[in-house]
């Protein structure tokens, strides 16, 4: 499938930027230590995540536009310029994502929870993602908010650079995020500013490093099977 066909199939609305570059992929078949005779050795492709969408956002019955309007209106009422808080809005695969500037995260979340027209009462926790190739935005915290009143689901995404891995805590707004933030801290080293007791939750208390970061090796040992050495999973050939 060419890139043109792919974007034609999957993009629900026009985009005004091409998305975040999260990495560059070179060659093919995982032969990255020389000896690639496939003819694909010189292939270079940039990997981009879906970029910002332009209005209308669509959604079932135009609900994404409705949510965005309500949120932007509510933020304006509080004297906040929506463009400062909401870095970009992405509609991809039928899901609405607001990328929020981290300093405004708590206010945006509180607005989403309390505004009667929004009413996202249930936060289903935070998931961390580490993009070492996304310069200056290496660590992402992704929140999914569900409105039981209106039957809607949205996603908030906040980024922090590796050099300053701080994101404000949402425990005051959504107490359920207590353990979720501890888990994300444990695995990614994202420090949730204002969390009541940000300690490791899965790994032992004295563990060094943050296991889910991409630069943290999986580990493992080679296993002998029928006379052949099968390398550890992270030493095996990868095709990407």
């Amino acid at each position: 499938m060419t890139d043109e066909q792919r974007s034609g199939n999957n993009v629900p609305s026009p985009r005004d930027d091409t998305g975040e570059v999260i990495g560059v992929r070179k060659g093919m078949f995982g032969a990255n230590n020389g000896g690639d005779t496939s003819g694909y050795g010189g292939l270079v492709r940039t990997v981009t995540m879906p970029g910002a969408s332009a209005r209308p956002y669509g959604g079932p019955g135009g609900v994404f536009d409705e949510i965005a309007d309500e949120l932007e209106g509510a933020l304006e009422e509080q004297g906040l310029v929506p463009g400062n808080a909401i870095v970009k809005t992405v509609v991809d695969r039928g899901e609405l994502t607001f990328h929020i500037a981290r300093e405004h995260l708590v206010q945006v979340a509180r607005t989403l929870r309390d505004d009667p027209a929004l009413r996202f009462e249930l936060c289903t926790g935070v998931s961390g993602v580490h993009f070492p190739g996304d310069q200056g935005r290496e660590l992402h915290a992704v929140y999914h908010l569900r409105s039981l009143t209106h039957g809607r689901l949205i996603r908030l995404e906040v980024t922090a650079p590796d050099a300053d891995p701080h994101v404000p805590s949402l425990v005051a707004v959504y107490p359920t995020n207590d353990w979720h933030e501890r888990e994300t801290y444990d695995f990614f080293g994202l420090i949730f500013e204002g969390h009541p007791a940000l300690t490791r939750i899965m790994m032992p208390d004295d563990w060094q490093g943050f296991p889910q970061r991409k630069d943290y090796p999986l580990g493992g040992i080679a296993v002998e099977y029928k006379g052949a050495q099968i390398p550890a999973p992270d030493q095996r050939r990868s095709y990407s």
């Binding site: 990997v47 981009t48 992704v142 359920t176 032992p204 990868s238 990407s240």
Partner: protein
């Protein structure tokens, strides 16, 4: 960290290596004195991580005064196996073998949530064959029964009601037999795959399932007779593990806990997936906010699940169980040989004897796997414990870039302190049992 400085309990001393502070325990005397002055009834008890009534390796740290729990905390992580990290080093299809082991009592829900996420990323949700979706629903509803049966059985055992335990495991065994017939395994099936299912139902499975539904219909009222009206059972369960709607919303509790607070929130109704909007079933609720209400809800949900299983069986029509796109669908068909289940001999004959292209195709898909366009997706299903969701991120490669599972046990377990503090020690067991945490899912 700030630079060290001198305090009455840390005196400096210069050495060749630099200044060394010797920290002495002067403050320990104060701690010991205040502990001696305190009520000597107040003790801290570590319950678990190896304790038969904590559902696996859950560690409860209880501060008790006499028989009253004044503070309760959970220690988790004893069963952390790094499944989410491991997924990043296997291809998309291999992922199901890992996620099925997370909450090992709700394997089919884990597999479905993961596969729905991958299919959303691939943009093939509408291409999944009807038969595959129906069988997913059927397996999930049977799984709801087997999970609730374990909850009721072990919950009963923890109260000392061994008959309920025997009955629960007896009925679960019948369902595990059905799994074994369909998937070849009693647990950890890896049967639901991105794009559909690993294989079709074996011959005779529909009749077996109809017989199973009949047997379970006959057996379910026994739990009512044994427990529902039983005064001892009620006395142990009622008003224990209380969590009202506001508490549920704040702590993110879903599933039977939320429904026992009176809110009929069920993702099968409020955000349907797999065609649940076309099935007839009720969402039971209670307004007691306690363990007994959750028990009644689980019993009723089992009856409703049987209804859905029957509707699935009525609707089943012959057809494919894997998406038609040959770039995604697993190439091999499984067949039962003399040495067990494996690739079908017809398929091997085709790729080894007649079609070079089919061989290349098979090799590429099995060793390399398919590529998933970059992006992220969130797929949620209503597992027996609540909202189970997979956040799946792809960078366009043949392996998941990141998969995060929002396991309902993990979130619901946070409510333990709210349910237990101020109650009796013996009620902690009941409250934890009513949360129904499975550590495989909590720790992943």
């Amino acid at each position: 960290m700030s630079a060290p400085h001198e305090t009455p309990h840390a005196t400096p001393r210069a050495t060749t290596e630099g200044t060394v502070y010797t920290v002495t325990g002067g403050d320990w005397d104060e701690v010991v004195q205040s502990a001696a002055k305190a009520d000597d009834e107040r003790i801290v008890v570590n319950m678990g991580p190896q304790h038969p009534s904590t559902h696996g390796v859950l560690r409860l740290i209880l501060e008790i005064e006499g028989e009253t729990v004044t503070e309760a905390r959970c220690g988790i992580g004893y069963l952390h196996t790094g499944i989410e990290k491991n997924l990043e080093f296997r291809n998309w299809t291999q992922g199901t073998t890992f996620v099925t082991r997370m909450d090992y009592l709700t394997s089919f829900f884990n597999e479905t949530a993961y596969c729905l996420g991958v299919e959303k990323l691939l943009g093939i949700e509408d291409d999944i064959p009807d038969r595959a979706t129906l069988l997913r629903v059927l397996l999930m509803e049977l799984n709801r029964l087997s999970s609730h049966l374990v909850c009721i059985a072990t919950g009963g055992m923890e109260l000392g009601a061994t008959t309920i335990m025997i009955y629960g495991f007896r009925d679960r065994e019948l369902i595990l037999d059905a799994y074994e017939l369909i998937t070849g395994l009693r647990m950890n099936h890896a049967f639901i795959r991105p794009g559909g299912l690993a294989q079709d139902l074996p011959p005779g499975a529909v009749d077996h399932l109809r017989e199973l539904v009949k047997t379970l219909r006959k057996n379910l009222p026994e739990y009512d007779k044994l427990a529902t009206g039983n005064p001892i059972f009620k006395a142990r369960m009622q008003d224990v593990g209380y969590l009202d709607l506001a508490g549920c919303m704040a702590l993110g509790a879903t599933g039977p806990i939320l429904r026992s607070a009176g809110l009929p929130h069920d993702l099968r109704r409020s955000d349907p997936y797999c065609g649940y909007e076309t099935f007839e079933f009720d969402v039971p609720t209670a307004d007691s906010c306690d363990s007994y209400g959750r028990f009644l809800i689980r019993l009723e949900e089992m009856r409703q699940s049987l209804r859905i299983v029957e509707q699935c069986l009525d609707r089943l029509e012959p057809g494919p169980v894997m998406v038609a796109d040959k770039k995604i669908a697993w190439p091999a068909q499984l067949a039962l040989g003399p040495d067990g289940l494996g690739n079908s001999l017809d398929h091997i004959k085709n790729i080894m004897g007649t079609s070079m292209e089919a061989l290349i195709h098979h090799f590429k898909l099995v060793t390399e796997g398919f590529r998933v366009p970059p992006g992220q997706a969130y797929a949620a299903v209503e597992s027996p414990k609540g909202e189970l969701a997979a956040h799946v991120v792809s960078d366009g490669g043949t392996r998941p870039y990141r998969v995060h599972f929002r396991d309902p046990s993990f979130t619901n377990l946070q409510a333990m302190a709210a349910m237990c503090e101020g109650g009796q020690v013996a009620d902690v067991i009941v409250a934890v049992a009513s949360i129904d945490p499975v550590m495989g899912g909590v720790d992943r």
